[in-house]
Symmetry: C2
Subunit: 675 residues, 2 copies
């Protein structure tokens, strides 16, 4: 590692190489953001070369320090660094910046480029992700470390700009991080006083340092963003406090580009060949050579990598001693890092008692019941609510609450911060070692959506427990009654939505959520009571299935398919009975999950909903948007395509046509119409 | 108005009447939130009785002070106040709290209950709305006031709790309000130290006052939330600063309920009859009488209303003198308050030149062109971007930028604060006098969604300019490429989405956005160039229409319908030509707006997409979710149901099958299949 006492021109040359590589990348791509890579090059170099423990030969080393580029648009910066440290990016990869199929996409992508810790780009998310990393570290540290065995002991660094700090999500995360005393979180604020529209004076005049102090952060200012020694000193000091640390680093956007530095035009477009030549000339680099790295700079990074091996070797030795001395804990430590569900979990789900329920109850309470069966079998399952634990019923009774005095507690309290909560869960999941869920009122999934999208994009199996799932909320009225939210989540790629109709389907929903390892899952749960439907449960592993059938002997088909999810399945079941007494044959299809149903083979889907059967009536206490995939042009749907209202739930259901009479009536009309 | 020098037991009784009315309401409804109404009763009474200028006989008086109950769950508080001041709520209405069709729904609803300024409930929104109110006031004040004629001169009060302050949206709004020096914004922070999950120590330990100071707010603390005189003093002081003011009022949740006050259980459930009796007894009210208001308290409020008439009379006199002296300005002042578009606007849109374009261009640039045609005809049109003005092209060149030194500028700068931006626009719209638009990258509509939903719920014609509308974003990659966002917005009730295919349809889109007065409109615009399609334009007033037709003479119908929106319409047009050369007859349907198409008569819809025509191929560079309403079970769609990637846009379009060859091929297969 570089030391602040031994800095030389070589370090400056290393920083300048990061700058010219970044500028060349953006120029060649004719697209991208050179401003921050140039301005924050010295700070980022200081952290990677002089503060972080990391090793390109073991990029997934569990106890490495993490670096989150919250200002994800500065991707050229991280790619330059990863190239120089030998993380697998070649000069050829840098030349393919932002090109199809390259390892160097426009914004950093998790599990795409080795050394990129997490996908960033949407501003503010990275700060909340970093809070998730640091919180995960603190929990695992408390859980697994033993005297003289600090097997978990790493820092999380995040680099952000003004943009990230203006976003509300970062304010939520910053406030919570202060409460949690995340002493191993170090946030580097690249303060360049420039936004896309101009000076930060136009719209961002708050005193950032004072705001962080008010949130109980340790704060420092480095007056010159090119002063590597000062940055390293600040990091040393940051490591001495038990508070999260802000280091504001005053920089100049586009530093080194003589005509553009300090200007908004340096932010998000190529600097131009002429400007880059001038910069290289000033740096003493051959002006017309592209992607040039001085030999001594290459040697410098090679040397850094060599010495960084020592750290990982020491840790591996420590871990092997830990394994000897604390065998069970070691096994647990390794198990927590695995994505494979435990045998205890498999045993639980294989047992009939997991599937058999009698009691009429709200599915949020069913979820509480199941969660508490599952919790002991998934020991690293942790989660909580945005100040709604008594309502979302998402508390694990075998586990304690997390507090600063009890940092192994796995029931978390996020405060009223839905957006940060979801992004923190993403950070925890990516960090590794923990299996997070978060809970809230379904209508406020709107507040979480940007982070939910990133769960899906990163293929993170975060579990979202969403209660109060419809107009069934009743008296709280339209602001609290989800309508379009099922459609909103179902339309996200790689996001699984499950809306169970009773406790048995809730048991299946949880089993699926735990075992689906490459997509997030949202469990959509009622506030109102629902009885048990015999035959529900395991069948819902197919996403949609025939719950009750009734074939017309004359046609060999049902006369009509009644399709529903969640609470509306019960309505269909009742309607089927009435239809039967009137001589009509209805098939009831329970469809708890569109996404899982779509994963089934075409044969199965055609079996459940035969293409020839056009009399299809759906019912769902939400928007009809998206349902025509199953009901087609000829079908019908009882849905809610307006906002709800404040009233006892049963009255609102009635008003919107969720009555047996209406289902029967509409079904008969449909049968007639499609004859 | 009450004066802090003349307070007596009567004022305490008035406050206690608010408490018992609120407690009785929640109890009778067996649902609701008594904690804040009891805790914040004195503060709210102090503001309404001793600080605000308002008059129940003229509840829409333009120059009234506004009160935003950001803690909307405390609706019983505002309903009690409105009843006592005679705003039209009778005791009978209070008894119908949270019942179907009542004037007293679970959360306050705009245009539903007289005296409720804006719909609140989703936490944090109200603070941003209040910033919108105060910003609107400041702009109108600067625009219309003349020496000795302060015709616009009112304050915005907002009441919030811990929950609102934990939400990120409030942090965004607070930071911006400080920059804007909104001196007429007074935020009352009901600090009761209790959240649903317990003490604020669990998850909210920041120093709120210091945080506001860091954001350049004036701050005060009132140590005793029942001290009316202290609250009135604090308001007086708040009015002397040119900064926005925070008054932290230390209260006890559920004050007066002897066994529940200070506890989370006072927050969100009825107190219980016994507890309410004990409270009434302590207040000296008949313990078993419900909805009781002492006669002297009734008389007290009647007296307050009488004196408040003076203010409005003075203002009306002032306005009539203003009318005499500044006739043009008066006319303009009245015109700005009207929702009817100007005759200039009507003339503009009636002129052929508004509709005729030749140039190939991105629709974001088309939008810039049209916006700048419209801007002079809608003089109170104002808006801006979340630090993306150079990209969203949403700047009006005939208008100046708003700055603190130039507060009549109508181009606004929101900083990187999408969520607050949308909620501020809602506040401005509700305030009256202004016509706001906001702009951003379409993918970040996710950040705005909770506020967009409230635009729709409140029927506010806020205009959302959403650019970079698809994988056409290209190199910025999947974090910046919207996929599911059209589905997300289309599924919101009362929200209009328009995705035009060229400049002519963009002209129509803007004309619709300006004239649709009861729903928000989102304009979804490309970054990439699109040529002009002859025949597009006015026809899109129907939402969907036959752009080019080609009937098979043998059937009297087209063989296939090619349906698309935005950039994909061009693909369909090209494919139609190829199909024609191969002997197939395709109808091209341009569908810029599902919502507006759905508003058309069934006959028209069946004319455009005849039910008998099942060969329907759609193409849209977004999720297929929702399209089956038009393509049915037999149709096909070229869409994007995965995340995008970082690459030049044309390559991503190709990869996802957006090629003429693929359209032609799929169309032919469809014709064959549906024969």
């Amino acid at each position: 590692m570089i030391k602040k006492e031994n800095l030389s021109d070589l370090n400056v040359q290393a920083v300048n190489a990061i700058r010219t590589l970044s500028a060349d990348m953006v120029q060649k791509a004719n697209s991208g953001h050179p401003g921050t890579p140039l301005g924050a090059a010295a700070a980022t170099y200081a952290i990677w070369a002089g503060a972080m423990k990391h090793n390109p030969l073991n990029p997934r080393w569990f106890d490495r320090d993490r670096f989150v580029l919250s200002a994800g648009h500065a991707s050229a910066l991280i790619y330059s660094i990863l190239h120089l440290f030998g993380y697998g990016l070649k000069i050829e990869d840098l030349k393919q910046f932002r090109q199809k199929g390259s390892l160097t996409p426009g914004h950093p992508e998790y599990e795409h480029t080795t050394g990129v810790e997490i996908t960033t780009g949407p501003l503010g998310q990275g700060i909340a992700n970093a809070v998730g990393f640091a919180w995960a570290e603190k929990i695992l540290e408390a859980k697994f470390n033993k005297p003289e065995f600090d097997i978990v002991n790493h820092y999380t660094y995040a680099l952000c700009g003004d943009g990230c700090l203006m976003e509300g999500i970062s304010a939520e995360a910053i406030s919570l991080a202060g409460t949690l005393k995340l002493g191993k979180l170090i946030l580097l604020y690249d303060s360049n006083k420039i936004t896309i529209e101009g000076s930060t004076d136009l719209a961002f005049t708050e005193n950032v340092v004072e705001r962080f102090k008010a949130c109980d952060w340790h704060t420092q200012i480095v007056a010159d963003g090119n002063d590597i020694a000062a940055i390293l000193s600040a990091v040393e000091i940051a490591k001495t406090t038990d508070k999260p640390s802000l280091i504001q680093i005053n920089t100049k956007i586009g530093f080194g580009a003589p005509n553009k530095e300090g200007k908004p035009s340096a932010h998000g477009e190529p600097l131009g060949e002429d400007e880059i030549e001038l910069m290289k000339e000033a740096f003493g680099f051959p002006p017309q050579e592209h992607f040039f790295v001085p030999k001594e700079v290459q040697a410098h990074f090679a040397e850094l990598v060599k010495t960084s091996k020592v750290q990982i070797n020491e840790w591996q030795l420590l871990l092997s001693h830990y394994q000897e001395k604390y065998h069970d804990e070691y096994e647990e430590f390794m198990a927590w890092q695995s994505e494979i569900p435990s045998t205890d979990f498999a045993t639980l789900v294989a047992d009939d008692s997991y599937w058999d329920y009698k009691e009429t109850t709200a599915t949020r309470l069913s979820s509480e019941l199941i969660l508490n069966k599952i919790s002991p079998t998934v020991p690293n399952l942790l989660g909580g609510s945005a100040d709604l634990a008594p309502s979302t019923k998402a508390v694990m009774k075998d586990k304690e609450y997390y507090t600063n005095d009890n940092p192994t507690g796995l029931n978390l309290r996020f405060g009223v911060r839905e957006h940060a909560m979801a992004a923190i869960a993403n950070g925890m999941m990516v960090h590794g070692g923990l299996r997070p869920y978060v809970a809230g009122f379904f209508v406020f999934s709107d507040y979480m959506k940007p982070a939910m999208r990133l769960s899906a994009l990163m293929k993170l199996p975060v579990i979202y427990i969403m209660t109060h799932d419809s107009i069934g909320v009743g008296e709280d009225g339209p602001t609290h009654q989800p309508v379009e939210h099922l459609a909103a989540l179902r339309s996200i790629p790689n996001f699984t939505v499950i809306r169970p109709c009773d406790t048995q389907e809730t048991a299946a929903a949880w089993a699926m959520a735990i075992t689906r390892t490459t997509s997030p899952t949202a469990l959509i749960l009622t506030r109102q009571n629902l009885p048990i439907l015999p035959g529900s449960g395991k069948a819902s592993f197919k996403g949609g299935y025939i719950l009750y059938d009734d074939i017309n002997p004359n046609t060999g088909l049902p006369d009509v398919a009644l399709i529903a999810s969640g609470s509306e399945v019960h309505l269909m079941v009742e309607a089927q009975k009435v239809l039967r007494t009137e001589g009509f044959h209805a098939r009831v299809v329970s469809m708890p999950s569109f996404e899982i149903f779509e994963e089934q083979p075409a044969d199965y889907k055609d079996f459940v909903l035969p293409p020839i059967l056009r009399a299809r009536l759906a019912a769902e206490a939400g928007s009809s948007f998206g349902w025509h995939k199953y009901i087609g042009l000829d079908g019908d749907i009882i849905s809610i395509d307006s906002f709800g209202e404040s009233a006892p739930a049963n009255l609102i259901f009635e008003e919107h046509g969720f009555t047996v009479e209406n289902v029967v009536d509409r079904a008969k009309k449909l049968i007639e119409k499609t004859k």
